[in-house]
Symmetry: C2
Subunit: 202 residues, 2 copies
DNA sequence: GCGTTACGAGACTGGCCCGTATCGTATTGC
DNA sequence: GCAATACGATACGGGCCAGTCTCGTAACGC
């Protein structure tokens, strides 16, 4: 939405219309290059244009520069939210934890780690990042609140801390490869069960 | 150890000896620039030389290139390990969790997020990263084992998962600024207590 | 057909950087 | 004093890239 790429209510300007294929190709090329390991700042407009089979001018006609293009491209990665069923607290939490760092677009998992420095540096990227994860946090918050109101969870529970507890292990494993010993497949279930029950002897 | 910077057992070569001040100044300049927000690849030898008040040749005389210099510089950030007292399981865990992402060198916390992409890309950086955190994990592992053998913790506890549970929340908060709502100061205590007790109603 | 705008391709200037080389000078052992 | 090496500074060629501009061509409304 940073530029006039959108299907605006334009008063039908004269001349040849913008190519929708070009839009798509540029965004896709950007995400591809990032997913292939290019750092966010090693990424060049020239490389994107070449990969997209597009002239550089075609990119500059649409975006002001690399940053604007990048923010637009990343917005495409938002993906869809998981849908907790609401039957079982445990199952819902496992679903949400398993969805952390996952995305319909498989490139997302390669790209995410590259964004960490940007998020710490640029307010724009930080906002985008928070916009993407906020609804997911909200989803988990609601599941936990339901658990409390149903009497399953302690009423004095600190929900924000609990969310960090559920999210943290999965995120450091997916983004930071924190511990090679851990099994990413079974981790969501293990985390949820451990958080629910605690680790003290009963 | 990548180059001959070390105080080697040299057979006393002739000519003017290398300046130790230059070594120090170059490393310090590198860490300073990183801490000030330069990305790892935006960092240029030229900028380091200027900041260190040193000729470029002085750098190339010591290191083969940016990567070698960087790995050496990062090794300086290792810092010292926290020392659990061994009296109280809870206190020891709070100490260890609080030390996550902390360092005697305050620049470390600024630099860490910048390294995330490198760690995912370069095996050298990944090794360095694992070498730094492995002893800290080991420390936590021992504290948890002691907790089990003292009968405080469940004997069937999955220690690796538990470590992720304790580490994850702190790490995503310090490195990713995951949730602005959370208080970093009180988080270690909250995390340890929640993990120990679980969140189910008793 | 005509004016208008977009297209892919690529030329072009200017900036930043790498890695090497070359200054004149400083510091060591002999 | 003399050879050897290091020093800071700076010049140099080469590469990559940003952003602008200019080709000849293509697609639209009228």
């Amino acid at each position: 939405m940073s530029d006039m790429t959108s299907t605006a209510d334009a008063p039908r300007s004269p001349g040849r219309p913008r190519s929708l294929r070009a839009d798509e190709a540029i965004i896709e090329a950007t995400l591809d290059l990032l997913a292939e390991g290019s750092t966010i700042e090693a990424l060049s407009i020239e490389a994107i244009a070449a990969r997209a089979g597009v002239g550089k001018a075609t990119i500059y006609r649409r975006w002001a520069g690399k940053d604007a293009l990048l923010l637009d491209a990343l917005r495409r990665l938002k993906g869809i939210l998981p849908q907790p069923e609401g039957h079982s607290l445990r199952d819902d939490l496992i679903l949400l934890v398993g969805a952390i760092g996952k995305n319909v677009d498989p490139r997302a998992s390669k790209i995410m780690p590259c964004l960490v420095p940007e998020v710490n540096r640029s307010p724009d990227h930080f906002r985008l990042y928070q916009n993407i994860i906020a609804p997911r946090r909200q989803l988990m918050r609601e599941v936990l609140r339901r658990g409390i109101s149903e009497g399953l969870l302690r009423p004095d529970l600190d929900i924000e801390v609990t969310m960090a507890l559920l999210t943290g292990p999965m995120l450091i494993q997916r983004v930071l490869q924190w511990n090679p010993e851990l099994n990413e497949q079974t981790l969501p279930e293990q985390v949820v069960d451990a958080v629910l029950a605690g680790i003290l002897t009963r």
